[in-house]
Structures are given as C-alpha cells and as structure tokens.
C-alpha cells in the first residue's frame, strides 16, 4: 500500500475528507465527501451586542474575513434598519472587489495552475507553485503581482490586511483618503492587463482538458447568485436569482429576508457542513451551485465592457448554462477581470470620496439578514436580537455549504470515471482532489502554499480495507 503524506493544515473551517469505496470488482461503488467543521459559533455569539458580530465572524472564520465582515455588516444594517450613505456602499463594494481579485488570483495561480499547466499526471513533487514558477515564470509572476495588487488595495482601504475593522454596521468608519484612491488607481492598468492576458492564455489551453470537462461535475443542477435589477452580476449587493439547469429563471431577485423560504438546510450524517438545497424542489433534487460558475450562469451579463466580451464568448463556447464544474476556472477568470473593471469604475466616480460614510442607529428591527457573494459563492448571515441588541440566535450559510451537495456529486463523477481497479495512479486521485479545488472551497483558500491542501482522500476496498491515501 502506497501512502503519499502531506500533512493537512489545520484550519478552523475544517478539513475535508473523501472516501472512495470500491466494489468487489474494483469499480467505484460510492464516494463520500465529508467536512469536519468547527461548530459552536452560534453559541459564542449568543448574548453579545449585535454590532460586535462583524469582527467576531471575521475572526472565527479567518478564511475570507472580508466576506464575513460584509455579510455581517449588512445583517447589522438590517437590524438598525438604515440605508447606508452611498459612498459607504461604494467603498464596501470596492473593498469586496479587491478581495475577490486577490482570492481568485490565489485560487487560479497558486492552487489550480499546477494541475492545469503542468498536468494532472505530472510529478506530484513538482506539481506545485514552485514547479509553475520554474516552468512558466511569466505567468507565475503575473499571479503574484495580481494578488499583491488586491492585497494592497485591501490594506490601503482597511489599514489592516487580514482583518479589516474599517467596515462597520451603518457604513465604514473612515472616508476614502484621496491618496489611497490614487495609489489603487495606479495599479489598475497592470492588473487589467494581467487579467486579460491570463484569460487569453487559459482559452488557449482549456480545450486540452476534454476528458476533465466532460467528467468534472458535468451535471445538471440549479444555479444561484446575486444580480441587480438589470440582471448584471453583483458581488456586494443585489438579490439572489435562482435558475434551473435549462437556464429558466425560477426565482428572480429574492428578498434577503425571505431566504429561508427558498433555501432549506439538510444535515448530512457524514459531514458537519450543512447541505443547503432549493426548498421548493426538495432534497436532494434542489441541488444548486454557487460561486463563479453559478454567478456566470445566473447573470444576464457582467456589466463592464471587457468582462462582458469574455462573458459572451464563454457562453458561446459552452452554452447558455455551463454545466461542467471544470469551468469554475474559466468563470473565475472572467470574474477577476470584472472585479478589476468594477474597481476602475468605482474609483473614477468622484463621489466615492464623499466624507459622509456612516449612519448611526440602534435596534430598529429584531432580525436582520445580510447576503453577499463571497469569492466562492453566496454567503448568508442571519441574526436575531432582543430589544436591547443582544444576539439571541444566529445562522450562517457559507458559500462552500451551498456547494456541498454539488461537490459531493462532482467527486462521485470524477471517481467513477477515472478510478478503476485496486491499484491506481496518483494522478487519478489527484483529479478527485482537483475537482474539489475547482470549487475553491474555504478549505483551500487560506493555505498559502499550494502543496499544502487540507484534503484527505481514502480509497477503500469492498471489505473495508484502506488501500490508498492521498493527502494533498
């Protein structure tokens, strides 16, 4: 029995484990995707003043702090029943775009490009960021530059890179300094060039992956994501739209407060991560996907010129609804471009410097829901408070949760297609890990080294014997 061991990194959001069960003939009988996640968050929050939630959720999760901050402040805005000043909304969106750019750059360049550029079957010792730097130095440099651009923008806006305390209930706590605006603006042309270059590069290689495209979660599900009134993609604001696998709009512009009418949360016996589903269709038929693939499917367009051109080409190539989860990568790159263009537009608007950026209020509603599009998909924060503003109940639906069922189904498809026999090549198991990576689940985004991925895959015989383990 061969074991490849790279110790999984410990993360609060949890580790993922995949079990692949073989039947007596060595064919894949069943696969299970489990997530071990720290719970108890709701308990910690109970009794605390609601306006502390943004900081608490940002730190407890630690994976994409800006996303949790923003979903949380939106839920708090709802409890205060305030409409935040327009400049504050723009600044929050700007911060969010910067985070999406840096997160998508991390996902593509650091976590997925080793598979895509060096090959799924290439030497695992070299199939990492260092290998990419060696073989494709220009592309690796682009990746580093783009992440840095996003991080510096966040840092400039929020004065602190990892856990910005700048975003507060009611708005943001300081207006934008013109010097910071100019600095971020100065980096935009290069960021845009890189985004365009990377998409062009990806379009050139994507068709080499026919077998992966056909089998990486190439499945019919519903899709969900935020759009605005015109159907443009939205990261920070807007309302959730659900479409079915044929592209028909099933729910348009869902009110945030109504989410529980449409989203059910199933508990899976083998996973700590809840499995949300579209309630009207039931479980598990109500499976849907979120994140880049979902957003690019539900939106009518992006709303910025260069991204719209790419959006049109993408759908021309793969249809109105893109079904394969392999295309998370492609969709992610379009979003990266959109994020940069959106930052451009926001910073061009002089009113973003407006000094009125915060609304003050106490408790005006006993419940609040905040929904945003985190880099990896729709994120929902829902709090209930008493009249004094103490949290009495909290519920979070995280992006990776929304994709939980779809990840499970994708893993199953990949395993059944690529794995046969009791002795399998590492590259085959790596494809199983890669389909999980395509979703960029919370488990991966915080690992700064691509070769340390908190995922364990076990191949199990019909009689329960563990044949092989891959930790990546």
């Amino acid at each position: 029995m061969r074991t490849i061991t790279i110790d999984p990194v410990s993360r609060i959001e949890g580790h993922a484990k995949i079990s692949i069960h073989l039947d007596a003939d060595g064919h894949v009988a069943d696969t299970v995707f489990h997530v071990t996640q720290l719970r108890g968050f709701e308990k910690f929050a109970e009794g605390r003043p609601f306006y502390e939630m943004p900081a608490i959720t940002a730190r407890i999760c630690g994976i994409c702090p800006v996303s949790h901050l923003l979903a949380s402040v939106k839920a708090c805005d709802a409890i205060m029943s305030v409409r935040i000043p327009p400049a504050a909304a723009k600044l929050r969106e700007l911060l969010h775009c910067a985070q999406i750019v840096q997160s998508h750059a991390l996902s593509f360049f650091h976590l997925s490009s080793p598979d895509l550029l060096l090959g799924f079957d290439s030497d695992p010792a070299k199939r990492n960021v260092l290998g990419v730097i060696e073989a494709f130095p220009d592309l690796a440099r682009d990746g580093i530059a783009l992440r840095k651009f996003g991080q510096q923008a966040i840092e400039g806006l929020a004065k602190e890179r990892v856990h910005p305390s700048w975003t507060v209930p009611g708005g943001v706590n300081a207006p934008l300094d013109p010097a910071v605006r100019d600095r971020i603006r100065a980096g935009l042309p290069q960021a845009k060039e890189i985004a365009l270059r990377t998409i062009a590069f990806f379009k050139g290689v994507v068709d080499q992956f026919k077998e992966e495209i056909a089998n990486f979660g190439n499945t019919h599900t519903m899709h969900a994501g935020l759009v605005d009134a015109e159907g443009n993609v939205q990261f920070y604001d807007g309302n959730v739209r659900f479409i079915d696998a044929e592209g028909k709009v099933v729910v348009d512009r869902m009110e945030s407060a109504d989410y529980s009418r449409y989203i059910g949360e199933a508990a899976l016996p083998y996973s700590y991560l809840k499995a949300p589903f579209f309630k009207p269709r039931g479980f598990p038929e109500g499976i849907y996907r979120v994140g880049p693939l979902g957003r690019m499917n539900v939106a009518t367009r992006c709303g910025t010129p260069a991204a719209d051109a790419e959006f049109a080409e993408y759908h021309q190539r793969y249809g109105k609804v893109v079904h394969s989860s392999f295309h998370f990568h492609y969709a992610r790159l379009i979003e990266l471009l959109y994020g940069v263009e959106r930052m451009e537009a926001l910073l061009e608007d002089e009113s973003i410097l407006d000094r009125h950026v915060r609304a003050h209020a106490g408790v005006n509603a006993l419940e609040g829901v905040g929904i945003i599009e985190a880099p990896r998909g729709t994120l929902i924060h829902h709090y209930k408070v008493n009249e004094e503003g103490a949290i009495t109940w909290a519920n979070l639906i995280v992006a990776t949760g929304n994709n939980n069922l779809a990840i499970g189904r994708s893993v199953d498809q990949v395993a059944k297609h690529f794995i046969h026999g009791k002795k399998i090549k590492e590259g085959m198991l790596n494809r199983v890990a890669a389909v999980v990576r395509a979703y960029d689940p919370c488990l991966s985004c915080s690992t700064h080294a691509a070769d340390q991925y908190p995922l364990e895959i076990n191949l199990v015989d019909a009689d329960g014997t563990r044949l092989q383990t891959l930790r990546s």
Partner: protein
C-alpha cells in the same frame, strides 16, 4: 501642614509629603510603576497587585498604590523579582475570564492589553478558566461585559466618590466575585444610575463600554474624570 520627608526611589532622592503613597511620589518624580486598579483622583484599592515594589529591609513586596511613604524609606521599582510578579499577576487576570482582544471593541486602547505588551507578556502559563459569563446590554447607552472585567473596582469608586450615585459594587468572593449594579438588578433597571458614563470612561478594559462601537472603536477619556475628581476635591 504635613511634614516634608525624604526617601529614595531606585536610588534617586525624592522629597515627599507625609501621607502620600509610593506611587504618587514616584509619579511626581518621573518614576514609572505599572498599575491597573490605581487611578489618580480616586481612592486606592490595592486589588490588582501590579504596582508591587520592593522596600529595603522588608522581605515581602508592597503595593505602591496603598503604601504610604516614610522618612528614609528606600524603594526599588524595577527588578527581576518584581517583573516576574507583575507578569504572573497579568497572566492570572488574562486566564481568569475571556479576554479575546481580537474581537474586542477596546482592542488597541485597553490598559490591560497595553500592560501586557509593555511588560512583554507572550504566554499565559495558567490554564484558562473560560467561565460562562453574561453581557448586560440592558442600559440604553452602555454595555457591561463581564467577560472582560478584571474587578479593579475603578467604576465602583468613581461612581461612589465622584458621581455620588454608588451604583456599582463587587458581590461574591474570590473567583466568584462579580460586579453588580443596584443589588444585582440589570443595569438598565437601576434606580440610582444617572447615566453619566464616568464608569465607562475609567474602566481600563472593554468591560464597560458605550453601545454601538465596532471592534477597536472604543477609546476612553479617563483623564477627564481625574481632573474632575481633583477639582471637586473628592480626593487629595
């Protein structure tokens, strides 16, 4: 008129008036002694044990905030032994309740945190207590978070001595001590509280804070309270 005396602090000759405490003389002579429960303008309490100093000729350590000076006294404010003691006192404070700086509204403006940084506290060697403590949000303007209270009793003293309302007291003993308002009624229902906010301004941590501040946003102005106390002559 009280008598002039002479003493030494870390070898430096200082003149003082009889009845002054070591910490007062030290401060008047530009010598720094770490302290937490002590606040100029309020009576001394001596409960945090951060200000312990060595007095020549005595084996035990004495709190500088409550010990009066004597003629000819020689005090040491800085030594390895003192440092160890101060670190231990801080570690005990941190391990007793739930001080999670990262999510605290007072992060960056907290006296407890500041002292830990200043004294170079890097590890808590004691097991954390993790008590389950309530947060009192019943007051319309202020919040009391017991998780962050270090029982320094500054609030008790300022409310009693400066405002004259005496809302606060410390109930229970030892590890079960708790700050209470008006005989254990929720703060918001207090009959005696004038909502003046002095307790909030003097509280060294994020235990007493104004409502509505996000993480790191709560700053305090305790010097104002000191000035007021001195002006009113509530304390020498």
């Amino acid at each position: 008129m009280s008598e002039q005396i002479t003493m030494r602090i870390d070898g430096q000759v200082c003149t003082a008036k009889e009845g002054q405490t070591i910490i007062e003389v030290a401060q008047a002579n530009g010598r720094y002694i770490p302290s937490l429960c002590h606040m100029p303008g309020l009576s001394a309490d001596g409960c945090c044990r951060l200000c312990l100093v060595e007095v020549t000729g005595l084996n035990r350590l004495l709190p500088a905030c409550t010990t009066p000076v004597r003629n000819g006294m020689s005090v040491v404010t800085d030594s390895e032994r003192l440092n160890q003691n101060r670190l231990m006192a801080l570690e005990l404070l941190f391990s007793e309740r739930n001080h999670i700086c990262a999510v605290c509204v007072s992060n960056g403006h907290c006296e407890l945190q500041g002292l830990a940084q200043q004294l170079g506290l890097t590890h808590i060697h004691f097991t954390y207590n993790y008590p389950k403590l309530p947060v009192d949000v019943s007051h319309p303007r202020f919040v009391l978070d017991h998780n962050r209270c270090i029982l320094c009793a500054r609030c008790v003293r300022v409310c009693d001595e400066v405002e004259g309302a005496h809302v606060w007291d410390i109930a229970g003993r030892g590890i079960n001590s708790m700050l209470v308002s008006d005989l254990q009624r929720p703060w918001g229902e207090s009959q005696s509280c004038t909502s003046c906010g002095k307790c909030v301004q003097v509280c060294p941590t994020g235990a007493l804070v104004e409502k509505g501040h996000a993480v790191e946003e709560m700053t305090k102005r305790n010097a104002v309270v000191t000035q007021l106390a001195i002006k009113r002559g509530t304390h020498p």
